[in-house]
């Protein structure tokens, strides 16, 4: 597969990514950092507030340790269905290290999608903390979280979630249109369109630029969704059952694409799936049982 542009050092995150690459799977530093974080977690709200100013040394630690990019501590989430409370997550601790392809596996209803939504800042946990790149993100303002989703997180879904009114190319450009205002987008349009085209080429959709989603096959839609997730050069890709709606061969193709993005561009990927065959291709598998990480 072609050299991937997204994590190219020329990108905005390049300098951060480059030094990390050599020590991507160095676990020792991460452990140490985890210990620090745990003390923060056990503390109450006041302590959590105190923890905020300490982000910059924390960030430094994360960078030097080369470890944890995304971390969840004691996540709890309960849904209310009428009068009934349905606890979905009952205290999940999770660490995602820089450059790894991690799979979260679990049965339906084990809370894996909810976990992913929390990690993606689409929802807020009832309890617990989420740290991204050394910054706490679960209690950030809505605008900050929108910004984070737009620029630093990439997301793909089981049902692709492309916008039906837009062509494949426009769908890929959508996050950039959100980033840029009308005039700033107009000014850079040529450059941005070029980037989107080359990204579509990377995922093997160069011949489908002007097609609407309903004119694409499932695998093609998922490839377009991946290109859309990567257009803003995110640090992490969060995938919710990326192969769940595809037949085996097409799913395998998507998996290979994700794997190559991971190895060639050092893209961190968190993937939620119920398919152990897919999960087994990950660097690390975390099993979620009844809203808690199972140690097995």
């Amino acid at each position: 597969m072609n050299k991937h542009r997204t994590a190219n050092p020329a990108g905005p995150h390049g300098p951060t990514v480059a030094p990390l690459r050599s020590q991507a799977r160095d676990g020792a530093g991460a452990h140490e950092h985890a210990a620090v974080a745990t003390t923060v977690t056990t503390a109450t709200g006041a302590a959590a507030q105190r923890a905020r100013p300490s982000t910059s040394p924390d960030q430094e630690a994360a960078a030097s340790a080369g470890g944890v990019l995304l971390k969840a501590v004691g996540l709890k989430k309960t849904y209310h269905k009428g009068k009934h409370e349905v606890p979905v997550l009952r205290g999940v601790d999770l660490e995602v290290r820089q450059g790894e392809l991690m799979a979260v596996i679990g049965q339906s209803g084990s809370g894996k999608s909810t976990l992913l939504h929390l990690l993606a800042t689409l929802d807020r946990p009832d309890e617990g903390e989420i740290w991204f790149n050394g910054q706490r993100i679960d209690n950030a303002s809505t605008r900050q979280r929108d910004r984070l989703r737009n620029r630093q997180l990439g997301m793909i879904f089981q049902f692709y979630h492309l916008l039906p009114e837009l062509t494949a190319l426009e769908n890929v450009l959508a996050p950039l249109m959100i980033t840029h205002g009308f005039f700033s987008y107009r000014l850079q349009r040529r450059k941005l369109v070029e980037r989107a085209k080359s990204l579509l080429e990377t995922v093997g959709l160069a011949h489908r630029l002007k097609h609407r989603p309903r004119e694409l096959s499932g695998g093609e839609m998922q490839r377009a969704a991946i290109a859309r997730a990567l257009i803003t050069e995110p640090q992490i890709l969060l995938a919710d059952e990326p192969t769940g709606n595809l037949d085996g061969r097409t799913g395998q193709g998507i998996m290979e694409l994700l794997r190559s993005l991971n190895t060639q561009s050092n893209l961190t990927i968190v993937m939620v799936t119920h398919d152990s065959a897919i999960a087994s291709q990950a660097d690390r598998v975390v099993q979620l049982v009844d809203g808690q990480v199972s140690d097995s």
Binding site: D123, D146, L148, F157, H161, E165, M177, R186
Partner: protein, 527 residues
Amino acid sequence: MYKFLLCWRYLRTRWIALASIISVTLGVATMIVVNAVMAGFTQEMQDRIRGILSDVSFEARSFNGFRDPEYHMREIEKIVGDEIEVMTPTVTVPAMLSFQLHGEWNTRPVQLIGVPRDAMEYASKFRQYLQHPKHREQFRFELQESGYDRRDRHGGDEAPLRVRMEMAGMVHRRNMIEYRRQWEKQLGAQPAPPGDTAKADSKPADDVVDPFAAAQVANPFDVADRPLDPFAARNDNAQADPAAPLTGCVLGIGLASYRHAGAEHFLVLPGDDIQLTFPTAGTPPKAVSDSFTVVDLYESKMTEYDSSFIFVPLDKLQELRGMFDRESGTTFVTSIQIKLKDESRGSIVRDKLQAAFPPHFYSVSTWRDKQGPLLAAVEMETAILNMLLFLIIAVAGFGILAIFFMIVVEKTKDIGILKSLGAHGSGIMGIFLSYGLSLGLVGAGAGMVLGLLFVRHINEIRIWLGQLTGQMVFDPSIYYFYEIPTSVNPWTVAWIVAGALAIAVAASVMPALRAARLHPVEALRYE
């Protein structure tokens, strides 16, 4: 950026939304048409009123009037001289009009107005209502040989022919005298001059008319007509010609005719003699009568005026009513009509004059004061119509609201996707607000074009509708208009369009807010 792209795509792919704004289009178009027609009517009516009424009238509260109009005019000049273009002293008095029809005397109440003969020089608007083309250029209370308009000249060829007007003028007068002579000869009676008291009264009339006849000789326009000039002819053998006209007067067309089936049927023609009876200025007032010759008819199309006013020369009326003081040589008038340089300053001038003259004796009013109830009624009608029509657009707003809610529900998943891509709630709101604005723009814009086109071709449409339905849509016999008058005020149009836009945007606010507040996870789950 995505807002505009998506807004555009939604516009292009959702024609049902355009259906919701058809009501906006129709509402805007109707409002423009109604306002244009109402404004046209109002303007037309104001023009007609102002053709008869002066800008400000300064009146005595008594029929006897006030002494020495020159002194009053000097005083008025001192107070508001800068504003005034011209002042005219007049005498207004209630009177009875009598004319003979098939040997029967017809009597009607009228308002008699004496105006100076030269004042007609300034009354250019009033002159336009006269029926003889020469009188519209210059009018001196003189009877023309013939050539009075045979149709309502505002109606063009559409107007019905006024058959009897063909013979109006001196021709008619001579015919009538000849006819009467023949008739009286048959009866074996002596021929009598027209008008019962005409013989005695024609003398002073001659004195008054003469200087103008002389002036007319100096007028190059009239040289060619001299042989036809009845006055010139009479100067030679005044006493001998039984057809010599008496003092001229101008009748409203509503007094001289009745209207039936859209056409005038004349009872009195220019050239006929009429008798006027009115009170003298003394105490107690006595009734005096005199005969006048109708020299022209005026048609201002304000029925109220056309069927009540008769204009006669001021000096004649003053003489007959005894409104002069032999010793001092001063005269009396009942009012001074003031024409202003700027009509809109009428109420200021009125207030200044009212403050300067004792209100017990003088009343000062603008033409708007006099026609206040009529103008107010038209304004009220316009306001109510506007309110009702704006409600139509408001109803259209609810249509937009409903369709927008539908679209938001339909697009719930897309909203979730956009939020997962980092779009802020305000951006999502922006999509739907700009969608509403675009729909409003399309609807109001189309309505504006439609409305203006309708106004422009309203008379063609009227004729076409008449042909289609076989029913007269706009009957000139009722409205005195041959064409529907319209007047488009750009500001009114701008306000209507702005109002429609505001309603379209306001209707999209609630659905847009709902879209902005959708929870991303729930929106994504929505199927």
